[in-house]
């Protein structure tokens, strides 16, 4: 039954592919969307820009039929529609590429694409026809991918193309892409933006959700900026700048550079867009004389599936320097951090912290040596959501004086410490008794940073320290990390955001397939060079571009 294939061959080109008029959506007391109107026309890319919690996801979920709006009208192909589920949206030619791919890893590309709308013959899946149709689609839209490969064997960029093909196979005239570049290398990102551009040439309209200004400026035709559930700006790349967009998003001018990077550019625009501006100071030369705090030699460890994830990795971090580990996610960064902090068993190699052997140390021992750890996954490792802000503010120090004595918790000390952290690190919470779950992502992260910074530490391990938080909080956390560095703390920064690595690091170590493939100077290396290294190009080849 080829439902998908025989649907809408629209008689006339609709004027508006997808629109929301006056969309209002409340979740309890929270107004996630407040009278939001957007409009997507054929052949255009509409970028929805906004911080986390600005209401971007709510809006597209309404447009895709996942949420019913409390007020307002959804329009698909010039028609007012009531969507009761995503099936209604899909049937009307709206497709969505989710941030987390909805694919069945062991199945082939073809089977993934036709899943749920398989062409059939005598009650069986007509594999030949399915394959043929998928190939036709791939050719027509220039989305090249091996139709017979298992999805799990494909790189992330190719998996994303499968997701796009899945939508196109269901005759999508509108493609909603939720943070599609979050998992891609710079090269893959450029490729994706090219693919999206190619789709618009064939009349497809694209809604593109992101918080990356550079991509918006490069790819969008129309830009809608959301803040606190409201549309705060509708513009086009020609009429605006990154700095202006950043200000719209946050509601005030932001400065991500900190003191060290005094460049001519104002505010977030250049910091988020390209390489960090060069600095006149040269901390690297003098850093050579500072003591080595973290010394990793020949470290090996396995991932959860027992595959070698970190492969004879060696790396040093000196006091007063930030070493940034750049790399596409899944190249062993998480396992590296877990092996250093005692959360994962190292199969070979040594880790020494402040001249003490920390190989095989348990997490408690690593903390006691003087290591602060901002974990990658704050919900899973960083906080206990049901615990109060106060309890979380001592999560890995609760057993030490002054928070405990004789096996008893000292509530008064814990509470006053928590109030200090909340005040110093600008954690927005009604009081320290509120559960950590009630905090926004940025405030949760500031609570973690505050906790880790409130003790004497020689080494800070910051894994994805600003993932998914708003620019204001990013700015704040970056400044704090720089301050720590300036006070002499050694910092190992692991981030999938190349911009973050470039903005903060004194040295950049590029990680690929469990190894450090190159160490570069962020002031002289370009995004393109590092991007190629992240993608596995040999260091020599990267230099040429």
């Amino acid at each position: 039954m080829a439902a998908a294939a025989e649907t809408v061959v629209s008689q006339a080109e609709p004027e508006v592919l997808l629109a929301g008029h006056g969309i209002t959506k409340r979740f309890g007391p929270v107004v996630a969307n407040d009278d939001v109107s957007v409009e997507l026309r054929p052949g255009r890319i509409l970028a929805l820009l906004g911080e986390n919690g600005a209401g971007k996801s709510t809006l597209v979920n309404v447009l895709f039929g996942l949420h019913r709006p409390d007020a307002g009208q959804v329009v698909i192909a010039d028609e007012n529609v009531e969507l009761s589920s995503p099936h209604d949206a899909i049937a009307r030619g709206v497709g969505m590429v989710h941030q987390h791919f909805q694919l069945v890893p062991p199945m082939s590309v073809v089977r993934n694409i036709v899943l749920g709308a398989e062409p059939r013959k005598l009650g069986m899946i007509d594999v030949a026809q399915a394959r043929r149709r998928v190939m036709d689609l791939a050719d027509r839209f220039g989305l090249h991918v091996d139709p017979d490969a298992a999805v799990e064997d494909l790189p992330v960029g190719a998996q994303q193309r499968v997701e796009i093909l899945k939508a196109l196979y269901r005759d999508a005239r509108v493609l909603i892409a939720d943070e599609p570049t979050a998992v891609l290398t710079p090269q893959e990102t450029d490729h994706l933006l090219g693919v999206l551009r190619g789709l618009t040439a064939q009349g497809v309209g694209i809604v593109f959700i992101t918080h990356k200004l550079r991509e918006v400026m490069a790819a969008a035709d129309d830009i809608v900026v959301l803040r606190e559930g409201k549309v705060v700006g509708t513009t086009t790349p020609a009429q605006t700048s990154e700095a202006a967009l950043a200000e719209l998003m946050v509601g005030r001018a932001v400065d991500l550079h900190g003191d060290r990077f005094e460049s001519g550019a104002t505010g977030v625009g250049s910091a988020v867009s390209t390489t960090a501006a060069p600095s006149d100071e040269a901390p690297i030369a003098e850093a050579g004389e500072r003591p080595v705090v973290l010394d990793i030699a020949g470290l090996c460890t396995d991932d959860d599936r027992g595959q070698r994830a970190v492969d004879e990795l060696s790396l040093t971090v000196r006091a007063g320097e930030i070493v940034g580990v750049a790399g596409v996610e899944g190249n062993g960064q998480r396992e590296l951090v877990e092996a250093i902090t005692g959360l994962r068993h190292a199969t070979a190699g040594t880790v020494s912290i402040s001249d003490r052997d920390a190989s095989g140390a348990r997490p408690r021992q690593v903390t006691v040596i003087g290591v602060g750890h901002i974990p990658e996954d704050r919900a899973k490792h960083g906080l206990i959501g049901s615990y109060s802000v106060a309890d979380n503010s001592v999560l890995n120090r609760y057993f030490k004086r002054p928070f405990a004595a004789g096996g008893m918790l000292r509530r008064d000390r814990i509470d006053s410490h928590a109030r200090d952290v909340v005040a110093t690190f600008d954690v927005r919470t009604p009081d320290v008794e509120s559960p950590a779950d009630s905090l926004s992502g940025g405030n949760k992260q500031k609570l973690i940073v505050g906790r880790e910074f409130s003790d004497e530490i020689d080494l800070l391990i910051a894994a994805q320290p600003t993932r998914g938080i708003d620019i204001g909080a990013i700015e704040f956390i970056w400044r704090r990390i720089r301050e720590r560095r300036d006070e002499g703390t050694a910092v190992l920064l692991v981030s999938a955001e190349l911009d973050e690595v470039l903005a903060l690091s004194d040295r950049v170590a590029v990680m690929y397939e469990g190894r450090i493939v190159a160490t570069v100077d962020p002031r002289s290396a370009t995004r393109e060079e590092i991007g190629l290294l992240m993608a596995g190009a040999a260091p020599g080849a990267a230099g040429g571009s």
Binding site: R362, H381, G382, I384, Y387, N396, Y398, G407, M408
Partner: protein, 358 residues
């Protein structure tokens, strides 16, 4: 504070009311008077000193059993093994109680209690250690250990420890020595005082000590607990031991304070009621006390209810089951009460499926 308590207690209280209301319907359908039935139930459970004593005696093992479930639950472990832990506690306490002679009460009674508690702790620790070292699920292990404990204690009562006096052929131990008997002060059994003390001790340990912080951390977020440097395996093993200790003490008090001996088959089911109690108390150690008292009263008054109004005492089991159903399905009660479901509501966190496959 009061508001938090009220909100936390709303669903259990409403569940009790709903259970009693449905019980009233059942009683009416059978052609009996609800008023006289429930009146006799209350009189039988609290009408005079004897009734009160019965209620408190019934409540004591229920409180201990409830604590054994509630404490383990704080570490994210579902202890179904209260029955087995209680049985070994009851048998070994009786063993010490009748086996030692000529020992003064101040030594004999504490020793018998201690051995009973330790037996329960060891029984609970087996499941904890297996969970920590091999990941064996505590629900499966404790259920299986219940059978082992049942057969082991039956065997002890029928063979080495059997009462050989007279023509006894029942599988039971001799009566414990007077020096190992738990006293009763009028209507107040000392065992119930111990139960109340244990409940407050559990609350204090969980809320005020670093060990309790570790237990709760492991229960609330195992990964974050590991990140915080807590030894998750040690917490699992030790928590199950504490849970077993509590259930074991409940069994020991049964032997030393109520039955005066251990008899095969007498304590069957008692350990399982701890699950009901813990659920009704929403795993709050202090709330275990009123929950245990309520169920204890219903059980103590059931006989009088049957005698006076002719209602079958099994109706009590039905009401208990209904209450448990409502507690376990708070959505029904919340809908009936028009309570708003809040993500931070206490009962939202009470997911007893926690731990499967993790």
């Amino acid at each position: 504070m009061t508001r938090t308590v009220l909100r936390a207690a709303a669903v259990p209280l409403a569940s009790v009311v709903l259970g009693l209301l449905l019980g009233a319907v059942l009683i009416t359908v059978q052609g009996h008077s609800v008023l006289s039935a429930y009146g006799a139930l209350v009189l039988g459970g609290a009408g005079d000193a004897d009734a009160l004593l019965r209620t408190l005696q019934k409540a004591t093992p229920l409180v201990f059993g409830g604590l054994a479930v509630a404490f383990a639950f704080k570490a994210g472990l579902f202890n179904i093994g209260g029955q087995g832990q209680l049985l070994v506690g009851a048998a070994f306490a009786a063993g010490v109680g009748f086996g030692l002679e000529g020992v003064p009460l101040v030594v004999h009674l504490p020793l018998a209690l201690l051995v009973g508690g330790a037996a329960g702790a060891a029984w609970g620790a087996i499941a904890g250690v297996l969970k920590a070292t091999s990941g064996a699920h505590e629900v499966i292990v404790t259920i299986m250990l219940n059978f082992v404990a049942g057969n082991l204690t039956d065997w002890l009562a029928a063979n080495p420890w059997q009462d050989r006096s007279g023509s006894n052929i029942i599988a039971r131990t001799p009566l414990v020595e007077p020096s190992a008997e738990i006293p009763t002060w009028g209507w107040l059994p000392a065992g119930f005082v111990l139960a109340v003390m244990a409940a407050f001790a559990c609350w204090f340990i969980l809320e005020r000590t670093t060990y309790g912080f570790e237990v709760r951390s492991v229960g609330a977020n195992r990964h974050a607990a590991r990140y915080a440097g807590i030894s998750v395996g040690w917490i699992m093993a030790s928590t199950m031991a504490v849970a077993g200790l509590l259930a074991g003490l409940g069994g020991a008090i049964e032997s030393l304070g109520v039955d005066g001996r251990f008899e095969a088959g007498v304590n069957v089911g008692l350990g399982f009621e701890g699950i009901t109690i813990a659920l009704l108390a929403r795993t709050n150690p202090i709330a275990v006390i009123p929950a245990g008292l309520l169920v204890g009263l219903m059980e103590a008054g059931a006989a009088k209810m049957q005698f006076e109004s002719g209602v079958a005492p099994e109706i009590i089991d039905v009401i208990q089951a209904l209450i448990l159903l409502f507690v376990a399905a708070p959505l029904i009660v919340r809908w009936l009460l028009r309570l708003r479901d809040r993500p931070d509501a206490p009962d939202r966190r009470l997911t007893l499926g926690a731990g499967w496959g993790r």
